[in-house]
């Protein structure tokens, strides 16, 4: 599977959104998070990994336990609705750029 560091793709997944909602309430250990889901531990830890890669979750060592908590800074970035809008246009413009870079003029129409 391709590694995704795109924060918007990360939160497009329902399980990952559920993890975010859980951790928003309090810092949690990976096993405490996994208890809330029917999926395997492994699956959940993969989701956590993706959330960490796009910096939505922060890791904190507390004695022998690892706790995950939300990264407030990153959260604010997404919660600001301009960012998804900007991303939408950026995707669109990237496509435009890619298409026109390969553009071969056919028979001129005008």
């Amino acid at each position: 599977m391709e590694l995704r560091r795109d924060v918007f793709q990360a939160i497009a997944d329902p399980t990952r959104r559920a993890i975010i909602t859980l951790v928003a309430l309090q810092a949690m250990t990976p096993s405490a998070i996994a208890e809330n889901f029917d999926s395997s531990r492994q699956t959940i830890s993969k989701h956590i990994q993706i959330l960490r890669e796009c910096e939505l979750l922060e890791q904190e060592q507390n004695g022998r336990e690892i706790y995950y908590q939300l990264n407030p800074h990153k959260m604010k970035e997404i919660a600001d609705f301009i960012e998804p809008f900007r991303k939408l246009w950026d995707d669109r413009f990237n496509k435009l750029e890619a298409i026109m870079k390969n553009y071969q003029p056919g028979t001129p129409k005008d």
Partner: protein, 154 residues
């Protein structure tokens, strides 16, 4: 995540600016806005009508994942090749109303160009609503929850 597009949306204002630099000569950038087959590709929409001239009009149609069709239309107020398009934009039947769009195309070097879009809405509230529906499906729900969560950190 490095985005090349700049959005300028000041709080409480009824306007919005979008700007982007392209690794494309000006003529190619402009062509992407005027050739229906090209526009269809990058906008992900069907072009029903596109009259690239002063007092011309345009009409697009998209089909969402559930098969519903949505129409977008407007009139072209000014059309200056490789330089400027002034047009109106409306999502038909949504109650969002008409917005006025100023598109300025500019050459930077022979191989690069820039587009500046200035969009004016009827009110600041409509502008904000419009920004929110720009969000991909499924994301807006997550977004609401995230916003709730984010409130705690303010």
């Amino acid at each position: 995540m490095q985005l090349k597009t700049k959005i300028d949306a000041e709080d409480g204002r009824q306007e919005l600016r979008i700007s982007r630099k392209f690794e494309l000569p000006l003529e190619l950038l402009f062509k992407a806005y005027t050739e229906p087959e090209i526009l269809e590709q990058w906008m992900g929409t069907k072009v029903l009508k596109l009259e690239n001239e002063k007092y011309g009009s345009w009409q697009f149609e998209t089909t969402d994942p559930r098969g519903n069709k949505h129409r977008f239309s407007g009139v072209i107020h000014e059309f200056v090749p490789d330089r400027q398009i002034i047009r109106t934009f409306e999502m038909v039947g949504t109650g969002f109303g008409v917005q006025l769009e100023f598109l300025e195309f500019e050459s930077i070097t022979e191989e690069t160009s820039r587009l500046d879009m200035h969009i004016v809405y009827r009110s600041a509230e409509l502008r904000d609503q419009y920004l929110k529906i720009g969000m991909p499906r499924g994301l807006s729900m997550a977004h609401d929850r995230l916003q709730e969560a984010a409130e705690k950190y303010k």
